[in-house]
Symmetry: C2
Subunit: 315 residues, 2 copies
Amino acid sequence: MKIVALGGGTGLSTLLRGLKLFSDVDVTAVVTVTDEGGSSGIIREELGVLPPGDVRNNIVALAENESLMAQIMNYRFNEGQTFKNHSLGNLIIAALTKITGSFAMAVEKVSDTLAVKGTVLPVTEDTIRLVATMESGEEVMGETQIVKRRSKIVDLHLDSVAHPFPKVIEAISKCDVIVLGPGSLYTSIIPNLMVNGVKEAMKGKPTILIANLMTQPGETNGFSLKDHIITVERYLGYSLDRVISNSEIIPYDILQRYNVEGSEQVLTMVGDEKVVSFPMVKSEVDPNDGKEKVRHDPIKLAASVRKIAKELIGD
Amino acid sequence: MKIVALGGGTGLSTLLRGLKLFSDVDVTAVVTVTDEGGSSGIIREELGVLPPGDVRNNIVALAENESLMAQIMNYRFNEGQTFKNHSLGNLIIAALTKITGSFAMAVEKVSDTLAVKGTVLPVTEDTIRLVATMESGEEVMGETQIVKRRSKIVDLHLDSVAHPFPKVIEAISKCDVIVLGPGSLYTSIIPNLMVNGVKEAMKGKPTILIANLMTQPGETNGFSLKDHIITVERYLGYSLDRVISNSEIIPYDILQRYNVEGSEQVLTMVGDEKVVSFPMVKSEVDPNDGKEKVRHDPIKLAASVRKIAKELIGD
């Protein structure tokens, strides 16, 4: 079963970590390139290459965890004023982009070296930025600034026309099922749909949205599951076939901490037959701040996706 | 034939590039770790790992040139204020030192990944600095400062006791011939001899010095070949068996430019039967400044070393 999964960094890589364990699933991850923050943002600005962080996360998710190259690709410097917080894998992808002259080729070379199970593709090789119209009418440029505003996004577009990386269109046209997410609605999922030809190629393919576990401050404040679905369908231009949501209640103490930061659980809903729900929450300590975070459990998520995908294609 | 070659970065790597082409030569490069300049110096200072540049140069010299990993190890960023002039290979060795907890292990892992022909070893895993007493009596600390003084070095020592990396002593004790250089006299060759137990292990092994082509401003101003030999023998504590020097006259226009910078050709000498000379100069454009530089021709140099080594061991 050929699955194309579109998204960004962390969320999509969680799905891939699960999917790679199923030998009957052949996955292609199509990854946004609109990140402007952190190590990726500095590399983008100073070296003029696409932000490598999201593709790196997904490549490593599909690699054997223990290999030396995977450790190198995952290494982040944690000292020294020059290198602190920079990801070595990001620098390797940037250098390979300069050596080969192509970001997509760099991604392919790193994937080959890591012997990944599946394929990771940047959605486009064009340098693009997100532009959001906020509720106030203000136009905000760039992913980092948009999220910082912490206000409602009423419209999102790209600052220039983006051409799809050809293998993305090819992978979509050959796949059995398309999966959107999990990932930030406006900064990971929707940007992929705005690259020329992507949603047109997707049309007619069974499409599943993985709903987020929690709302994201600055992107989806107060969004219900229905709001998520409506928003994705608005940018997609047609209806989703299935929405996979989480049925498990998140522990009260974790939820309380999220609430303080403006983030609420996205509860599943009844009365819409395309929504299916499964328990698939896993809490883990975030190494960045030592706090317990809720994440999709990679195996439960992948098993749910595989089950629904099989139903959709009548397998 | 087992050869142990001791030296630093550029010069030693030239010898290795030649030696790897001879299938009957098994080479171990023992490399200084006293560099404090450039990318290596910043990594040393900010990340607290040994300077990786010299070992990196030698690993790459022994690798297949065309491999992707060799290109990655050799890549140097040439833009962006954060990364400009930093070597990606240096950063990889630094990260692997953090991951494995050992600089020597990092060197071994990178060597394995590049499938190098031979072995590269740091002479010590101790963090050491050079201390020089200049002609004026002033004590100068650190390789960069010592060379900057551009005055005569009357004595050189390490700032603290350095223990040899155990495999260095093992390689020396098992080898047939030892080669010193080519390389900077005070900052590449002699520092190896000051690590505890190294010259003691070398004693009794046939030892060849590769003489430099040119004197180095700040290290060997005005040094004749005889001065080079006397200086090395002083730190070694016993006599060299052979000195391989260049017999070819360097083109006048190049020589003139070197002379302006205080660098003169080291001419070969007669009357000392341990001195043997061969034509082995190659001029090449330095990518850093676009100027034509004189270098040892790797193949001519390696062939000369192999010939003399065979004579010494009676092969």
